[in-house]
Subunit: 199 residues, 2 copies
Amino acid sequence: MPGAKLAEDERQGQLLRAAYTVALRDGLDQVTARRVATEAGTSAGLIYFHFGTMEDLVLTLLDELLAAALDAEVTPAVAALPTASARLEALLDEEIRGLPEQRGPVDLFFGFWFGSRSPRYRERINGALVAYQRVFEGVCGDVVAEWGHPPGVTATALAELVVAFVQGAAVQMLRDPAHFDVEAMRAAARALLRSRLAP
Amino acid sequence: MPGAKLAEDERQGQLLRAAYTVALRDGLDQVTARRVATEAGTSAGLIYFHFGTMEDLVLTLLDELLAAALDAEVTPAVAALPTASARLEALLDEEIRGLPEQRGPVDLFFGFWFGSRSPRYRERINGALVAYQRVFEGVCGDVVAEWGHPPGVTATALAELVVAFVQGAAVQMLRDPAHFDVEAMRAAARALLRSRLAP
DNA sequence: CACCCCATTGAACGACCGATCAATGACCCG
DNA sequence: CGGGTCATTGATCGGTCGTTCAATGGGGTG
């Protein structure tokens, strides 16, 4: 009665893709062993052979999601820009510009964050967010230096602000994706940075 | 075997408070009939007598939450300010300033939003967010007029931006409440508005 | 005081959950 | 081609879920 055998990672990948499909279509609370197995065309018991527990499968899904959705990086093209302000502006612009096409993962990301109170989830999410913010902090350190270290403006505070802006834009996009105005958000982001946070 | 009787709305209020307590402490997915009843010190069956279904109880809880957490309004003190820019600034500042003390409700709000794919929830949330944004749009209309209608800046786009900023700040607060810097956010909000969104 | 209404209870039902495990047969190796 | 390994299956377990309902007795009414 057993079906065809697959290599360890192939089968795991198949189950993870099925879980991802179910999560996107029906919501995270519908990611059950039976549903994932049905979506993957396998039996439910197979999940426990490959992942041990359902929580481990979902945690693996979360890790892959975080790696895909929170992947800010200073690309060589950005690093080559002459001023720190321009680099931060380009980095922020890239993140906002990419939001619409990341709608599914981002929706799932907030689902993981706020859909459960499990410390296991929140730990990983917080860790990924800290790493995400650290990418911005590097550039922000150069920016505040370039601005001549205005009082009350630190690299950390500026990075927190920029990340808050990205998250706010993401939330607004999820509310009404068809109506979300990417260009207005990009323009606002530029204006915010060029104001130099003058009081 | 029956216990003491209570008036209709008293009992409903008691059950709703219990549901709210459970949701805040254990998460929305733990808001079950048995848990809410235990928290309220009643039996589970009582919930179905007063609310019909569990979904109706949770929807009522959501409505109360939305009324409490998304209650932006132009107070007389704000309306009395001489310029539209000042009014918008004061309105936005008030919303950001109030975030830390609204931590619980806001956390629950995002839990409702992203924790389930039920259209019943999302409809109501979207409606409340539209109403919330409309409060800002009123003031934003005056602001863009005051700015002389810069190209590409409409009342709607400005309101979307401001709401995105509030939501971003809220999300950032939830990530690390102890470390959230309210003053930095308020300063950034002021800077953003005073930049007039110059490109 | 007696009566009746109905708010309240708690046991029960079916459905679905995560998880376990013996049975099975596909696949690799000799 | 034959045999052993092990990935796969499906029935099954205990538990919790939302929901129902007959039985119960508190509390206002006459």
